[in-house]
């Protein structure tokens, strides 16, 4: 069975949630490689050297909202300033426990965000994305 995506990135400060996402994506053959980063800053740092190699960019980015230092929304603001070829390559999914209607609205209003998912990530949710 083929992998759905070559590279998928997960941005979450919670190590367990990173582990869950990685496990679920690997076992469902959703992603060949899961890039786990534990902060928005780290995510930006990871994306930077890949400007020249867009094929290496993650196709999907799962983004948590509630993170220290830089929240998911802060990341989106920075993301907006990235070169166009980067933005074209990546699709962003919010992955959060937030029940705040405003978070949902803000996320859905953002042009780069495709979906708003509630944690935990499990097979059913991945199946839906397949």
């Amino acid at each position: 069975m083929e992998y759905k995506y070559k590279n998928v990135m997960v941005v979450d400060d919670n190590q367990i949630d990173l582990y869950i996402a990685e496990m679920v994506m690997m076992t469902t053959r959703f992603a060949e490689k899961v890039i786990c980063v534990s902060s928005a800053k780290e995510a930006l740092a990871y994306l930077k050297p890949l400007y020249e190699a867009p094929e290496e960019l993650p196709k999907l980015i799962f983004l948590d909202i509630n993170m220290p230092e830089m929240t998911g929304f802060d990341f989106l603001n920075e993301y907006e300033r990235l070169p166009e070829n980067v933005r074209k390559q990546c699709i962003i999914m919010m992955l959060t426990t937030s029940l705040d209607e405003n978070d949902r609205k803000q996320a859905e209003g953002n042009q780069f965000v495709k979906r708003f998912l509630n944690k935990p990530l499990d097979r059913d949710k991945i199946a839906e994305l397949m």
């Binding site: 919670n14 869950i20 496990m23 426990t97 029940l99 509630n118 935990p120 499990d122």
Partner: protein, 446 residues
């Protein structure tokens, strides 16, 4: 805050000021009149009259004032005393015509009390004095000294009388008008005071309202943070459990995992119920257009993964008839529908052929009628009265926190609506909700 002064109190205090000021003036005027009498005594050596009549007048005035301080009798006495001074001065100057002006001076002074009636005793005294003294002099009595003329012709007397009447009338009129002006001023002062006070009260109210809103908002975001922080580890646990299930746990572990999952979901549901409760209780009712179709779809999407593993999928049927725009509070409506639909899923009847829950909505200009009907296990008659109570759970098998229907009822009440329950054990449950359409009505927050 200064308590509001009553109109009566303001009125009294204002008139009291007018009286005190006038009384003070009277002391000067009466003193001057007495001194004036003394100085006139030089002309014709009328010391006895100047001191005798003058002192008697002053004694009459001050004793009245002293004896009846709360009545205005002393003011009428002043009026009489002015008349007497006039007669005294005319006599002292042996009928010098200009001394008749003293009556006018007195009349003008009396205006200060703003009471036209005070003119009456003076006018009456002047009439009596003129008539009697004029007549006495006319018939030849000596030393009357009413006028320096030998006698006054009737024509002169009448003109004199008319002019005097005009003066008294005009002074009375001014007194009356000043009184009216005072009344108006008192009213204006009162209205102004009241207006200012209302303004202050409104400001204080606005301020406390702002503070309340702020603390509500803070509490809301606090509840959010807390619920988020409580739920985050739970969702991690569920995630890890999901991974465990992906392996081959075997029947023993599978059972344990399923128990863990149920507990976690229960706790998660409880946290969400508390969040809903807090939001419903604290947040203001907002007016938004409601699209029932979208709302129900959104809720069903969120409930997709709900239900125990051994339960069947419940068919959610929506039937919305809304040609008319409906306005209500979306978040509360969502709480209501979410709780009722998830109850229908949770308490489905294993014996029913195909479990379903039907959401039927009819919207009118004034209200929306929402019917939620399922073929679940139902609620028996004796429990139906209690299911809306806080923390009430029908049986030990109940999966929820006992908050769900309580929150539903609270939310319906916040939206000024009513909810009715019909249910039969083994057949299913109907919830009938009627909510007012806020399209045309202002919000009434309870």
């Amino acid at each position: 805050m200064v308590p509001q002064q009553t109109y009566q109190a303001l009125h009294t205090s204002y008139l009291e000021k007018v009286k005190l000021r006038s009384d003070r003036l009277m002391n000067y005027f009466l003193g001057s009149f007495f001194v004036c009498g003394l100085s006139l005594a030089f002309f014709y050596d009328t010391w006895l009259v100047a001191i005798g009549i003058g002192s008697l007048s002053l004694i009459a005035y001050y004793s009245t004032k002293w004896l009846l301080p709360h009545s205005d009798a002393y003011q009428y006495m002043v009026s009489i005393v002015f008349g007497i001074f006039m007669a005294q001065f005319i006599y002292q100057m042996h009928g010098l015509f200009e001394m008749h002006f003293i009556a006018f001076v007195g009349s003008a002074i009396l205006i200060t009390y703003q009471n036209w009636k005070l003119q009456i005793p003076l006018a009456a005294l002047v009439i009596v004095h003129h008539a009697s003294f004029g007549y006495l002099q006319y018939i030849g009595y000596d030393k009357i000294y009413f006028t320096q003329l030998d006698y006054m012709t009737l024509q002169t007397f009448i003109i004199h009388g008319i002019l005097a009447t005009v003066i008294f009338f005009i002074c009375g009129l001014w007194a009356y008008q000043m009184k009216m002006l005072s009344e108006r001023q008192i009213r204006q002062t009162f209205e102004m005071g009241r207006f200012q006070e209302e303004q202050l009260q409104r400001q204080a109210l606005l301020q406390s309202n702002e503070e309340l809103k702020k603390s509500n908002k803070e509490l809301d975001s606090f509840v959010y943070s807390v619920s988020h922080d409580l739920r985050a580890p739970l969702s991690s646990m569920l995630g890890v459990i999901g991974i465990c299930e992906m392996g081959d746990p075997g029947p023993f572990m599978e059972k344990n995992i399923s128990l863990l999952k149920t507990s976690i979901k229960k706790l998660d549901g409880f946290i969400m119920d508390i969040l809903d409760y807090s939001r419903n209780a604290r947040l203001e009712v907002e007016k938004q257009e409601i699209h029932f179709d979208d709302l129900v779809t959104e809720i069903t999407n969120n409930l997709k993964f709900m239900g125990a593993d051994d339960q069947r999928k419940v068919d959610i049927r929506t039937n919305v008839r809304n040609g008319i725009a409906f306005y209500s509070d979306k978040s509360r409506l969502s709480i209501i529908l979410n709780n009722l639909i998830s109850n229908s899923i949770r308490y489905q009847n294993p014996e029913a052929a195909e479990p379903f829950v039907e959401v039927r909505v009819e919207v009118s200009e004034t209200s929306a009628s929402i019917l939620i009907r399922d073929n679940g296990i139902g609620i028996d008659k004796e429990n139906q009265g209690k299911v809306f109570n806080m923390f009430y759970r029908v049986s030990t098998k109940s999966l929820g926190s006992g908050l769900g229907l309580y929150i539903v009822k609270e939310a319906v009440e916040k939206l000024n609506g009513v909810i009715q329950l019909e249910s039969e054990t083994g057949k299913g449950t109907h919830f009938n909700i009627r909510l007012p359409n806020f399209a045309h009505s202002p919000l009434i927050t309870t």
